[in-house]
Amino acid sequence: MVFNSYSFALFFVLLLVLHNLPLPWKVKKVNLLLASYLFYALWNPPFILLLWLSTVVDFYAARLISREQRPMPRKLLLTISLVLNLGMLSYFKYGGFLLENFTLLLSSVGIAFQAVKPDIILPVGISFYTFVTLSYTLDVYRRKTDPEPSFLNFALFVTYFPHLVAGPIVRPEDLIPQFRKPHRATSQQMTWGLFLLSLGLFMKVVVADTLLASSADTVFGVPFPVQPLDAWMGVMAFSGQIFCDFAGYSTCAIGISLCLGFILPDNFRYPYAAIGFSDFWRRWHITLSTWLRDYLYIPLGGNRKGNVRTYINLMITMLLGGLWHGASWNFVIWGGLHGIFLCAERLIREWTGQRQRSFAGKNQADPGLTESMAQASMVPVSLNGKFRDFGLALLTLLLVDITWVFFRAPDFGSAMKILLCMLGVIPDGPALLTSLDILKVSSVTVVLIACHWLMRDSSLVQLGKRMPWWLLSLIWTGMLILLILTQKSSNSFIYFQF
């Protein structure tokens, strides 16, 4: 079931009524759990068995890990949980990809091997709920958290429908404590939750699906080169589309959960106003980047084992982060590019930091000079702080957009073709996008950048509080009217395929 569907609207209204009836807390939790299973089963009922398997195995594995004091059995139990979770993920998500590359590898050394193409359907949300259950087992193993004694609370933590299929990727401490005591949305939470749901649907249905998707699909869908303007517009369209699609889903999820009285963690914080790539990853898919930091980058050694290892760890984390998105070399390249940009940024910071320190040592009498030197090392011309930051944010967005080419293109050749068109190396392709397409993409891009920039150090709830109530209503009304005008759009969210 997708949030942008009539079936979800009916489901949500019935669930809200049920959740607000004077029933015991345990009954309400059972209702939520059954509703979550229904929410998932309406896609493809058999895949619910995988969810049950993962839930049951991790619940009992974590219990046994917690009771066991001897290191080896603890490791063995953790391994069982990891093998099950990562095994399922690998089979369903990477089975075909591994087989295809294995075949290519054999043929490259002259061994003719023709494997039957596996017909594997990817269960919706498997990458997300696998990370949710993994974080629980790993936290219990590290004794960061105690195992949850209630199976109902644990099953609801894994299956809770707002985050189940596309995040935010919750941690045990985010949700389990909330399930332990009765929760019901206050009227403020309910109205704010409904506002967030409207905003998320507006981002998905109006902006991503109606204003941007067709331009991105057109440019990335043709097998021939296009004009540079079209290539840029296609990439900018996808850049806006992927943000509005994914952040729209997260905003819906947070809003829906708030209407039920539960708070989910933020997943996006105006990423297109990020200054640099480390800032970008603090703002984009936050729950994934923190998951990768806590369960991959830090266990690899993080930045504690010297400079070279830090760069290697960064690259490993980003390459695997790219591969998490899908079984394709393009996702690996996307992750690799982000890794390279993060490493480059770190190098620049170290270099400018050293220069700053050595310059400050020589010019202790003039601290103002040190500041201007630091600025000059980032941007070649002397600019004031805000202006310089905006320029750096645009530069970051430009580089992020270049990485999106690999994320969206169906294969490496197509990605390179788009990049060459963008750079004007192939200038003579046909014009594809109409005036209306260009107007839609450029308007949305400008508004998106402006909103992100103006909101980069703020939050929606703060803005909602500061704004006059009638203005808030005007914006809300505008979004809902556009949503109604757009009419039904039951397009799946892009991140469901991951």
Partner: protein, 360 residues
């Protein structure tokens, strides 16, 4: 957070949105537009479910827009007692649908294939072929959730005019904006809103305004000319045409092997549209060759005075009133041509203008 603040905002929002919806609905009702259903993938999938209870009296119709306008399903039902299953898709090639029926081992029914040469004889991967393939691929993925949404949507569509995605949603409204075109680009045809509506059984009918107003008809004619200027002037030829014919024959043979029945039909067109079709797709090279290659019977409107007596208001489709009599005349011809056991309630078989070889 002040409770008053958000509560006041939500109440005002609710009132404003409800006011807008009522006003928007009343506005479109005042524009004399008839109620139309979204001819989307869910409506197609819903109709596709019915193909297993077909018979010569209740055939499956596949093709492009002409069979959707020209065969009146209610008239067919009056004559035979049963209503056909309308699976044709506007602006697409029926070949992916034919292939889909051929690949379905449970389908053993009767198929009437509408041939609009410019769409039928398009190669794999072309726009008309891709669009039809999308529907075929959607059907097995039509989830329970989407089915539930479809039924809820149907309840709303029954009563609300503005729920018309094709004509009145944000996308077509934006397309209506007077924005100067970018040189060397084409955003696709823009048909007037009054052109036609889609019924829940997927039949298309021209609106009363379209039938009555020649200026609207001229707008549609202008669209055909525009589409023509962006389409190849000559049809596919050589090995590509042979490959298309082979794939059609393969599908037809598979349906017949299971006891199914197939016939091709060529619906009326006239004026410059027909002239362009004759130039680009000469009958002997395409229509006749299709029947001969697949060894299948066909009904070409030009062979029957009762089928060729009509004038299409916009050169390509029949007006609703004409579609009724066309259908009433078509059924006995179909029965005579094929010998299929169609329940015809007293309809007379009209005379033919040409004696065609029957390949069945």
């Amino acid at each position: 957070m002040h409770m008053n603040h958000f509560s006041k905002a939500s109440v005002l929002t609710l009132i404003s949105v409800l006011t807008f919806v009522i006003g928007w609905e009343l506005y479109w009702r005042s524009q004399h537009l008839a109620l139309s259903y979204n001819d989307d993938e869910s409506l197609w999938a819903h109709t596709r479910k019915e193909i297993y209870q077909t018979s010569p009296s209740r055939p499956v119709l596949i093709g492009s827009s002409r069979v959707k306008f020209d065969l009146d399903l209610a008239a067919w039902q009056r004559v035979t007692g049963e209503k056909p299953v309308q699976l044709a898709l506007v602006g697409t090639s029926p070949r992916p649908l034919l292939n889909d029926l051929a690949n379905d081992p449970n389908f053993k029914g009767t198929v009437i294939i509408d041939v609009t040469e410019g769409l039928f004889f398009t190669p794999d991967g072309s726009f008309p072929e891709r669009e039809a393939t999308k529907r075929v691929e959607f059907y097995p993925k039509w989830s329970l959730s989407q089915q539930l949404s479809f039924h809820i949507n149907h309840l709303l569509e029954d009563h609300l005019y503005f729920l018309d995605e094709e004509r009145l949603s944000l996308q077509p409204l934006l397309t209506d904006l007077p924005i100067p075109p970018r040189p060397d680009t084409w955003g696709g045809p823009k048909f007037p809103k009054e052109f036609s509506v889609t019924r829940f059984d997927r039949q298309n009918v021209m609106t009363d305004a379209m039938v009555a107003d020649t200026s609207i008809q001229n707008q549609v004619k202008a669209m055909w000319l525009e589409i023509g200027s962006h389409s190849p002037k000559q049809g596919v030829d050589g090995p590509l045409l042979t490959a298309i014919l082979n794939s059609v024959k393969q599908s037809v043979d598979r349906i017949r092997a299971r006891g199914g029945k197939v016939i091709f039909v060529r619906m009326p067109s006239d004026g410059p549209f027909r002239e362009a079709e004759k130039m680009g797709y000469p009958r002997e090279k395409y229509w006749d060759r299709l029947l001969a290659h697949t060894q299948t019977a066909g009904i070409h409107f030009e062979d029957y005075p009762v089928l060729s007596k009509y004038q299409c208001p916009e050169w390509s489709h029949l007006a609703p009133k004409d579609a009724i009599t066309f259908t009433e005349d078509f059924i006995p011809i179909l029965q005579q041509k094929t010998g299929w056991p169609i329940n015809v309630n007293g309809a007379k078989v009209p005379a033919t203008t040409a004696s065609l070889s029957t390949h069945q």
